[in-house]
């Protein structure tokens, strides 16, 4: 039985990796991919905690999360498609019409 803390450590590392991924690239797609890493970390958390507390609802939370994040990703990618069609690039830094 792997201790709960190991999972937490793993997910924290994943979280940090995800954050790093978000900050390191400016392409919309890399943002969503890095976000997926964080979501995966969350799912791992849910599942491992469900195992730890031997309660099933953790598993269902993980599934629900998966579904919701899929919606989000879909919307994001759809928008990115439009975006790349309009601007010819995926970098979200290219926007600057509205500012301070």
């Amino acid at each position: 039985m792997i201790p709960e803390n190991y999972f937490l450590l793993l997910t924290s590392i994943l979280f940090v990796i995800g954050i790093y991924g978000i900050l390191s690239r400016r392409e919309g797609i890399s943002i969503i991919i890095s976000s997926e890493i964080i979501v995966n970390a969350a799912i791992i958390n849910f599942v491992s905690a469900a195992n730890f507390y031997s309660a099933l609802n953790g598993i269902s939370y993980a599934l629900i999360t998966l579904i919701m994040i899929v919606f989000e990703t879909v919307v994001f990618i759809a928008l990115m498609v439009v975006f790349s069609r309009k601007t010819g690039s995926l970098s979200i830094s290219k926007l600057g019409r509205y500012k301070g």
């Binding site: 997910t11 995800g18 970390a41 919701m68 919606f71 919307v75 979200i92």
Partner: protein
């Protein structure tokens, strides 16, 4: 009777619309207007049922003391904002109706959720449909607004779910009734991350940066929805989590919340005062309103929560009014502060409603904005935060400054009599003005809910 509550109504509305849209080929394109009316009817029905029967009460979603009031005003605002949207003869697709309905559904669900995960789901529903609304309701450069909103939103959502998962890992439950504070690092970290995640929706600094741009980029009537109903949902979520679920009354949380609130109030006020475009001023002012509501949440007392709920109501109505009114002016190219003088030419009633709305935002009596602030200060005083109130006064002064900069430029009034040259008034403008009048009346009558 059990099913006659707004959530089911809205949900069935969404289903109906999807069905009809699916069968759209067989429908005449003139009939699209009919779909809008159906949407409006569903919203209205939801409002009526909320008033009569209250909300749904199931496992993950349950009523709390203020939920009927909050969903009530959310539905009220959504209904009128929607009427305002459809009073424009612009063609818009059924998709917008659907996303609008689901956004409303999401925000009412946020109020009711009694589990962190259901809260997350509700916020997701709300967020996703508002992304769609911002993008699909075409105006100028909606894409930019949508992208900014969405990219910030996605990150906030994943942060939120990660925080929730940490809380689950720490405590083994996500239900508000069984959650309790434990001093366990993952749990604490989870709570901290949840603060950050929820901060996005309620536009607290530093999670606010998308807001001015998105507000400015999207159509003003949509902005009205985002800045009132959707933001109200975010703040209510804060209340749900930090007052009911995790009653953490430690000094640290209070200090953190208060400092976030103060930073929000001050920075947004100062930023608003240097803006040139009216809509952006309003956007920042809306952020500062959220700060005020949050300052009241931050004291984490019953008085504070009551004050916050009332204040959320107050600023949501006022925000809705100013953005809706601004929608009328935006169409006539009233963009910059110095152009506000021509507001009254566009619509006199619109200008007056805008005026009163801004007064309410600035907290001038006898509007409910004043009573909201009264309650907030009351809550702060009863918890003994005297210095905080004085600080808040200064922020209020700054906000008075920028609000009245618009108003004094507005000549609400000066030009009306002099220039007989009124733009031609269309029938839909009359409808819009009526809506504004009703909302403005709410600014005065709302006192009874205090």
């Amino acid at each position: 009777m059990e099913y006659l509550n707004p959530q089911y109504i809205l949900f069935s509305g969404i289903l109906l619309l999807i069905l009809v849209d699916f069968l759209r080929r067989s429908l005449n394109s003139n009939k699209k207007v009919f779909l809008h009316y159906i949407t409006a009817v569903f919203l209205g029905l939801a409002l009526v049922f909320d008033v009569i029967y209250g909300n749904m009460n199931i496992n993950l979603f349950s009523e709390v003391q203020y939920s009927q009031f909050v969903t009530g005003f959310m539905l009220f605002l959504s209904f009128f904002i929607y009427l305002f949207i459809i009073s424009d003869k612009n063609e818009h697709s059924v998709a917008i109706d659907i996303s609008y309905l689901s956004a409303v559904l999401g925000s009412t669900l946020v109020v009711l959720s009694s589990n962190l995960l259901s809260l997350f789901i509700s916020i997701e529903i709300l967020s996703i449909s508002t992304y769609a609304l911002v993008y699909m309701y075409k105006s100028g450069n909606a894409l930019e607004g949508a992208v900014k909103y969405l990219s910030t939103g996605v990150i906030s959502m994943v942060i939120l779910i990660f925080g929730i998962s940490l809380i689950y890992a720490g405590s083994g439950t996500l239900s508000f009734s069984s959650l309790h504070v434990i001093s366990y690092l993952p749990f604490i970290a989870g709570v901290a991350i949840v603060i950050a995640g929820l901060g996005f929706k309620s536009t607290l600094i530093p999670f606010h940066m998308w807001a001015p741009d998105t507000y400015e980029a999207s159509k003003s009537s949509v902005t009205a929805f985002i800045s009132s109903v959707s933001k109200a949902a975010g703040l209510i979520a804060m209340i749900r989590v930090f007052f009911f679920a995790l009653p953490v009354s430690s000094l640290f949380v209070t200090a953190l919340f208060l400092s976030i609130a103060l930073i929000t109030i001050f920075i947004s006020s100062f930023l608003a005062s240097v803006q040139d475009r009216i809509k952006r001023i309003l956007a920042y002012s809306s952020i500062s309103q959220a700060g005020f509501a949050f300052i009241s949440i931050a004291v984490l007392t019953t008085k504070g929560i009551n004050a916050a709920v009332f204040y959320i109501f107050a600023f949501a109505v006022a925000d809705a009014i100013v953005f809706l009114a601004y929608d009328m002016f935006e169409g006539r190219k009233v963009i910059y502060k110095k152009e506000s003088s021509s507001m009254a030419q566009v619509s006199r009633i619109g200008a007056i409603a805008f005026f009163i709305g801004v007064l309410s935002l600035a907290g001038f009596p006898p509007t409910i904005g004043f009573f909201g602030k009264l309650l907030i200060f009351y809550a702060l005083f009863s918890s003994g935060y005297f210095a905080l109130v004085i600080l808040a006064f200064f922020a209020l002064l700054v906000s008075t400054f920028y609000y009245f900069n618009i108003l004094s430029e507005m000549h609400v009034i000066d030009r009306i009599t002099r220039d007989k040259k009124q733009l031609p008034v269309k029938k839909e403008q009359r409808v819009k003005e009526t809506i504004l009048i009703i909302l403005t009346l709410a600014l005065f009558i709302g006192v009874i809910f205090a």
